[in-house]
Structure formats: structure tokens, C-alpha cells
Symmetry: C3
């Protein structure tokens, strides 16, 4: 693996999931691999799990970690080419990415969607500019349209907890009052399209994801119908792709409750976190044994470790 | 030692002080103990000494350190149970603590008192929620009502500098224009109650600490009387416990001066830092050989190292 | 080397440049030297290159790194002596520096000029207070009037790319709408005064640097004249020293273009970064093979490593 920005960077998903499970069994087995290697973690947005799990995974592999909060530790970066830089951005990504690539053996970047301009967000400018200019492998810590480290952790979690060979997996929209990016939902859908699962997406009208991410998923606009017989319920809020970045509804009947979970076949509840309790999903569900959210978050460490190992082996 | 949140977590204070003194003599003797162990440092509030000394102590022990500034690196955490999370807190401590506990072998937390609601502060919600949900040992980096790593450093310092077997130790209130928490004063009093010292607390009317922290200390409202014959003057400002969080006076006659120090028996001056010079204590005192504030701050490293070693040994 | 605050701390510049070049060839050769040594990086101002390159250099040498953002991780520091601290600064540098010096084997500090008061800035209060009170070696990560780690990287870069034994080096002012410190320009001039180069400074009227930094440089107020036959063009904006901290002109004819570069003798373009494209220098120049800005920034790692090694050897 050279970069890890989209699903297309993965050559063998089954092998990558297995690497994650191996890391979980034996976290320090590859500690010599990362010796004297440095990963730069560049955050344009806040992070808890991604920050900690990636740092932990790198340290498990014996690597050094340098963290940079853009706009806090340093200053804003200009992403556009050819611009006269007389505004509030003091440095161009051309220089910043190239320089970080000189100090680090790989660069991991988090940069959320602005949700103002669909074309711009879906062009993945920040990640692509880093990929173009860093000169070293680039790893996606959640970009405008994707969160592949999360998706890999989700695949690992489903692999661990599935009770039939081809489980029914439902990605369901959840209500929220703020406009959130589509990245986690897009990415989960993209990865599920490559797994041997029955994959259904449930969301209200106006919330269909971009067709290139939906792929061959069955999309339904009735949550109860989707939940029937499901093995995994993957909850997430996202703002509208069609009416880009808008909150079209906060319909609380889409909140996941125990009554909803009873429609499933003893289904497990998953969510990437952070999750707003009793708005997106009830305390009762999250505190029940059916919830996998902590195990899923814990798997972020092994997902990151599998990816970093793959990149290290290819340096 | 499993947790280190209050004095009650200490099984043998003399042994713990001795561990601190041993670490000071031989900082790297236990470096194998922390190998491949990670401590998460979670800051809800600013920190200089605590941040640096705990990180240093962990590194002395061979540990990895992951630092997280809540509300800066990540987002606000909801502490209350059963709430509908439709406000500005994006994540519940139930998830956050559990997840951090998955990545880290121990979690250290700093969360000051809000000083708005005495009952809430004195319930120590943040530390107790972490203790409840983290699933790993929790270490107090200063909570609403206590600062035990400071108190242990104070005990080490008194042990090093005492010239008689049962010294007279005076905790004195100092003037300040801002309302400050009682945590350092509470904690110092709690720990002194377990030491073989003559312990006196001097503060103006209305500034008595909570009875459970005062313990068997003699409380006087006359600073000069308290200073007479003292071996150690421990200065600190705190806001009122009775009229909770209020600044009742800024009486500058409570500032520690050389004239005041002459009332002692060649007493030493201690303060946890940061200290506002010439408001709480004069330059003359702080710059004199009687001041121990730098030695005391330096002992924070050995205090933290003794505690982390104790926790590591019990993992 | 004990401290590294000004050029005067350097005993043998040629040897130091050679150390940088050695580190670049063999980054991990001195890894045992820094074992169990800790550097504290104290930032009063934002940083990208300095932060990352110094951390990387320290890790190459096997050191531990503790980073502190003053006023963000901790609180503001009072620098003035004898003051009554009843304002917004909660701690005096006397304590802060001494305490950091207890936890760290060396302390590196970044503190920019305020540009309000020339005398105060040119007294280098922050760096000098740290030097006075830290009790351990102090390293300048850019101070009010100097940026010696940058200047050493610049010397290394010129050494690598010069094509004649005594190159012509031109420091040229560039237009900018914000008032910037003179530190990089001062420092570059100070260091070039100690190199075997033909050194010319080009700036508009009113922008002459302080005489003690200009030294024996030839100062011209005509950019074209300065560029003629130059081997290296070192671009930088600075605010006026004479009318202290003022922006006297934003004259765009001082922007470096390809037409300007054609006046040189196939000269190389250097800039410390960050650089505002198409305001200070055109895309065409920065994206041409004549630009050394990335190589120069990369050399910050080796500059820092040479300095840290020198300090470590003297501990």
C-alpha cells in the first residue's frame, strides 16, 4: 500500500482485515518495522478517537509521531492554485505538504467537508493536494467525503461479531440538528459494497447518498422495513447530498430505540462516535449488550495499525 | 495502587514518599516497567507543571504518552446521565472514557471546579465518571476538590526540608482578585492530616474549608498568630466554600512578606505555583533562600513517578 | 555550545555546518547521545517548520520531547521584574523558566517581537529571561530579533548549492500588507557577515535593518541593481526598523518575478517560509528549479540536529 486515501488504495481487503485482527492479538510484534520512522498527523479539524488511535497504532509499531493542529499550532493553508495570497491564509499547501513530507516518512491528514460547495468538497482538494505535493505516503484521517480508517475498523468489527456468513447490514440515517458531512456514511457504503453482505441503506427522502457511494446497496426510505431481520444496524447522521449540506428534517421517529432493535434478528448496533444520546439513539440501546460502539472504537487502533504497517512495508 | 483520585487510594503514604525520593535519586531505574504501556493525559483545563511533570515521569518509566486537550483537540463532553444531548456537548463521557480506556493503560484527567454549584463540584462528577467508565486506572491531575499529585510532592518536599521530627506546618490563605478553586488547599489539608505535623490553617472569616478536608487541623483567623514558630508556610488563595465560589475580601494584609516570615522559626515558604508576585507574596520572600517553590515544583516529577510506578506495578 | 540564542553562542560555524551535513547523511548516528534527555519546546507563537523540524531532530538524537503552547496549553507569563501581578498574566517567567528547567535538560523558546516598542523587542526580554532563570541550556526557536536555527539552515543550503567559492548573496525585502518582525532578516544578515560571501541587502527607503545586524553588508535601495550577477536571492518581508513596526510601502515592483531572476547569474531563490505566493514572489519562480525553498526548509531538521547535538555534548 502506498497511500491510504480511498478504498481504491486497498489491494486486498480480506488481508487488511486479517492484519488488523493480528495486530489486536499481538500489538507489538512489528515494533522493529517502524523504528526511526516518523508519521506526521495533520489536523484541520478536531479529533479524539482518530488522533489517539492513530498515535497509539504508530507507537505500537515503534514509530515516532509528530502532531500538528493547523490554524492552532500553525496557521491556515491556501489550497487553491494560482491565487494571489493576500488574504488570511499565510502558507500554500504546495509548500506546507512538501515540507511536512521532508520531515516525515508518511503524512496523515484530517480535513472535513465545508458543506458549502458540493463540487469543491467532492473533489477532495485538501487530501489530493497533500497526495500531490507531500512526496511521501498520505493517509486519510477523515476527508470531505470519506473516512476509510473508520470503515476498516467497521469491517473488522463486523467480521468479529457476525453470526452468519452473509449478514444483513443496515446503514441508517439518524436525526440531528446540525448539518454533518456524509463522509462516514459514504465510506461505510463504499466498503460494504466490497463485502459479502446484504447491504441496505435507510434514509428519509432527500437524504440519498451520492450514487458513486451507494453502489449496489438497496436504498429504502422506511426505517422499520430496513431493520427487519438485520444483523447489524449502523447508525449515522448526515446532511443532504441532494440539497447539499442542508438539514431537511430532524424527524425523531428515526432515532434508534429498543422497539426498533426488536425488528432486527438480535441485531448489533454500531456507530462511529461521537454519538448524541437520546437524540440519535437511546441510552437503552447504547447501554445494552447489543451495542458494539466501544468495541468498534477500540478497533480503530487495529485498523490504523494494519494500514500503517502496510505503508511501512512499502516505504 | 489501582486508581489515584483521592487520598483514600493511597495504601502506604510513607512508602509512596520514599518511592518519590528513590525516583529522584535514580530516575531511569524502572524504565522496563513502562515499556509498551501508554498513559492518556486528558486536560479539561490549562496546565504547565502538571502536564510537563507527568509526561516527564511517564517517559522516565519508559511509557508512551498521549495528550488530549478536551474542547480544543476534540470537543466538549456531557457528564450527566440520561440527558437528551441536543446542546453543545457532542459526546458523552460514557463513550469518551470507555474509548480512551481502550487505547490507554491508564488515564489521567484534569478538570477544575466550575465554582457555580458547590454540590456538583464536590460530587467530583468528571473524575468519578472517568473512574466508572474508563475500565483502566484513573489518575487525578487536579479535580474539582483535590490535587493529590501536588499534595504528594508537598509531602516529599517537607520530608526533605524539615529540621525537626514534628514540624509546624501552616496553610495560609493569600489574597487574590479572582475566585479560585479550593482543590489545592483541600488536598494539602487532607494529606497533612495523615502526617506527623502540627497543622494549622489560617484564613479570614468566611474562608473556612469544608469540614471533611479541615479534619483535625487547628483553624485560626489571625495570620500572625498562625505564623509564630512555624517551620513551613504553605500559601494559597481559595474562594469561599461557605459563600461558594465568592471573593469575600482581597485584604492585602494577608500577603506574605519578609516581616511575616520573621514571625516563623526560620520557616520555609511553599506554594504550588503559579503565584502572582507582590499580590500573594512579595518578590523578597520568593527570591530568598527561604522559598522552596522551585524545589517543590521540581518534586512534582517524582511525585508523579511514584504514583505511575505504583499503578504500573498493579496493572 | 551551552546556549544557542545568538550567533555569539557559536564557536565554530564551519564545524556546525559540517555537523548539519553529517546529520543529513546519517540521521541516527548519534541516537545514544540523547537517550533519557528531554527537550522542552515552549511556543509563545505559532510554528510549523520550527516545531516539526526541532521535534524530528530531537527524536533522531534519541531525545524525548515535551511541547508547551503558552497561553493555550497553559497561561500568559509575566516577563517584567518587580511588578505587582494583578493583571492577566498568572505566572512569572522566573518561576516558569526555573520549573521547566527542572523537568527538561534543555529548553527551546519561540517568542516573536511585539512590534510596538523597539527598545523592548531589541532587549530580547523573553529569551534573556529564560537564559537567566532556566538553569539549563536555552535554544532560540525565533526570538524578537533573531532566528538562528533558520540562519544555520540557510548557511547549510548555500554551502550545498553554491557554484563558486565566494558567491554573491542578496537579501531582498519583499512586499507584504502586514507588519512582520525583522528577526529572519536580521539573523540572516548577522550570519552572512561571518561567511565568505559578497553580501548585499536590498530594501526600499525606510527599511534599513538595525546597523548592528547590517554589519559590513552593502545596502542598496534598488532591487534590480542588487540582483545583477547574484548567486542567491534570499527574499523576506520585514516591517520598518526606523519607523518601528510600520508598513511604509507595499510596492509590488519589489515582488520577485522571473524577469527579476533573469538579472541574476542563474541565481537560486531562497525564502524561510511561509511565503505568500504572487504577493512576495510569483508561482513561476517558486515552481521553477531555481527555487530552493523546500530544500532550505528540509535543512531545518539538520540545522536543529547539529545544534542539539552540540548542546547535548556539552551537558
Amino acid at each position: 500500500m502506498t497511500h491510504f486515501v480511498t478504498y481504491d488504495d486497498v489491494t486486498d481487503l480480506n488481508a487488511l482485515i486479517q492484519e488488523g485482527l493480528n495486530a489486536k492479538q499481538n500489538p507489538f510484534a512489528d515494533q522493529a518495522l517502524g523504528r526511526n520512522k516518523t508519521i506526521g498527523l495533520i489536523f484541520f479539524n478536531s479529533s479524539l478517537r482518530t488522533r489517539m488511535s492513530t498515535q497509539k497504532a504508530a507507537q505500537n509499531l515503534g514509530m515516532n509521531v509528530i502532531t500538528m493542529n493547523v490554524g492552532q499550532d500553525s496557521w491556515g493553508l491556501e489550497m487553491e492554485e494560482g491565487v494571489i495570497m493576500n488574504g488570511d491564509k499565510a502558507e500554500h499547501v504546495k509548500e506546507a505538504a512538501a515540507v511536512v513530507g521532508k520531515y516525515c516518512d508518511m503524512v496523515a491528514v484530517r480535513a472535513f467537508a465545508g458543506l458549502k460547495n458540493r463540487e469543491q468538497d467532492y473533489q477532495e482538494v485538501v487530501l489530493n493536494q497533500f497526495r500531490k505535493y507531500a512526496g511521501v505516503p498520505v493517509i486519510n484521517l477523515e476527508s470531505a467525503t470519506r473516512h476509510p480508517l473508520q470503515s476498516l475498523a467497521d469491517c473488522i468489527t463486523i467480521e468479529e461479531f457476525k453470526v452468519r456468513s452473509r449478514p444483513k447490514v443496515v446503514l441508517t440515517w439518524l436525526p440531528h440538528f446540525k448539518p454533518l458531512p456524509q463522509a462516514v456514511a459514504n465510506s461505510f457504503s463504499e466498503w460494504m459494497n466490497h463485502r459479502d453482505v446484504e447491504f441496505v441503506i435507510a434514509n428519509p427522502d432527500g437524504y440519498d447518498l451520492a450514487p458513486e457511494f451507494v453502489g449496489k446497496a438497496r436504498v429504502v426510505h422506511n426505517q422499520d422495513e430496513a431493520f427487519e431481520g438485520a444483523d447489524f444496524i449502523y447508525g449515522k447522521n448526515w446532511s443532504s447530498y441532494e440539497q447539499y449540506g442542508q438539514v431537511l428534517t430532524q424527524d425523531s421517529s428515526w432515532m434508534v430505540t429498543m422497539d426498533k432493535m426488536r425488528l432486527t434478528d438480535n441485531g448489533k448496533f454500531m456507530h462511529c462516535l461521537p454519538v448524541r444520546r437520546n437524540m440519535k439513539v437511546t441510552d437503552e440501546v447504547l447501554d445494552s449488550p447489543q451495542s458494539l460502539v466501544i468495541e468498534q472504537a477500540a478497533n480503530r487502533e487495529w485498523s490504523a495499525q494494519a494500514v500503517l504497517k502496510g505503508v511501512l512495508q512499502n516505504l
